[in-house]
C-alpha cells in the first residue's frame, strides 16, 4: 500500500512537470491523501498506555 502511495506521489510530480490541469492534479493528490489517511487509521489499533 505504501509503495502504491509513493508511486502516486511520483505520478503527481510528473503531472506537475507535464502541466496537467489543476483539477486533475488535485484529484490525484486527494486520492493519495485519502489513501494515506486510511492507512493511518488502520494503524491506530494499538491502545495507548496513558496510565500515569
Amino acid at each position: 500500500m505504501e509503495t502504491v502511495l509513493f508511486l502516486l506521489l511520483l505520478l503527481i510530480w510528473c503531472a506537475l512537470l507535464a502541466r496537467w490541469s489543476r483539477p486533475r492534479i488535485l484529484l490525484l493528490w486527494g486520492l493519495c491523501l485519502t489513501g494515506a489517511v486510511l492507512l493511518l487509521s488502520s494503524r491506530l489499533t494499538t491502545p495507548l498506555d496513558l496510565s500515569f
Binding site: 509513493f6 493511518l40 496510565s51
Partner: protein, 210 residues
C-alpha cells in the same frame, strides 16, 4: 473658462508589493527545498544508522512529500505563466491539509511513548526523538502555509525570472521522491503493507538476495 476635464490618476504598481511577491516566490522555493532536505535526511539516516523507518515513520514521509507537492505545484506553474490566486491558494491549501495529517501521525507516535520513563524508539537529536522533531516540523509547516495564505495579496508569485532555480528545485524533489519510493518498495516487498516495525528490506529477502 476653466477646463472641466477630470484628471484621473491610475494607481501605479507599488514597488513594495512587487518586492513581497518576489519574496513569496522565493519562500515557496525554500519551503519545497526544506521539505526535500528533510526527506533526504531521513533517507540518509535510514542507511547510515541501518535503521528502517517504522510504518508510522514512512507515513510521516508520505505526508511531508504531500505537503511539499502543494507549493511545488505553485513553483511548477510559475515556470510557464503567472500564478493566479487560485493556483496559489490551492497549492498552500494542499500543504496545510497534508501538514495537519502529518502532525496527527507524528503526534500518534509521540503518544505511543508518552509515559514517563518510556525509552521511546529510534534516534535522539538534541534531547528529542526524531518523531517529536517531525511533529514540530509539521506544526511549523502548517503555520508557514497558513501565513502565506493570509498574505496572499502580498506574497502570490506573479511571474518567475529564475527558471534554473525552479527546475533544480523540482528536480531535487523528484529525485528524493523516487529514492523514497524505491526504498519503501524494498522495505515492503510484495506484502500488502509495511509491518509496524520492519526488520529489514523484505524485497531482498523475497528475491533471495539476502
Amino acid at each position: 473658462m476653466h477646463d472641466m476635464t477630470v484628471l484621473r490618476f491610475s494607481t501605479p504598481a507599488p514597488s513594495v508589493s512587487r518586492l513581497t511577491n518576489l519574496w513569496g516566490l522565493w519562500f515557496t522555493h525554500v519551503y519545497v527545498l526544506l521539505a526535500t532536505a528533510l526527506l533526504a535526511g531521513a533517507l540518509a539516516h535510514e542507511f547510515a544508522a541501518a535503521q528502517p523507518p517504522t510504518a508510522l515513520g514512512a507515513l510521516q514521509r508520505l505526508f511531508l512529500a504531500l505537503a511539499a507537492l502543494g507549493p511545488a505545484s505553485v513553483v511548477a506553474v510559475s515556470r510557464h505563466r503567472p500564478v493566479t490566486t487560485g493556483d496559489f491558494a490551492t497549492g498552500w491549501g494542499m500543504s496545510v491539509l497534508a501538514s495537519v495529517c502529518g502532525a496527527a501521525t507524528a503526534g500518534r507516535q509521540v503518544l505511543l511513548h508518552i509515559k514517563p520513563g518510556a525509552p521511546g524508539e529510534g534516534a535522539v537529536l538534541a534531547g528529542l526523538h526524531l518523531y517529536t522533531w517531525t511533529f514540530l516540523v509539521f506544526v511549523a509547516a502548517t503555520v508557514a502555509a497558513a501565513v502565506m495564505l493570509l498574505l496572499t495579496d502580498e506574497t502570490e508569485p506573479l511571474d518567475n525570472h529564475s527558471p534554473v532555480l525552479t527546475l533544480s528545485t523540482l528536480g531535487l524533489l523528484g529525485l528524493v521522491l523516487a529514492a523514497n519510493a524505491v526504498t519503501v518498495f524494498a522495505l515492503q516487498g510484495f506484502r500488502f503493507a509495511l509491518p509496524e516495525t520492519p526488520a529489514g528490506y523484505e524485497l531482498l529477502h523475497q528475491l533471495g538476495i539476502r
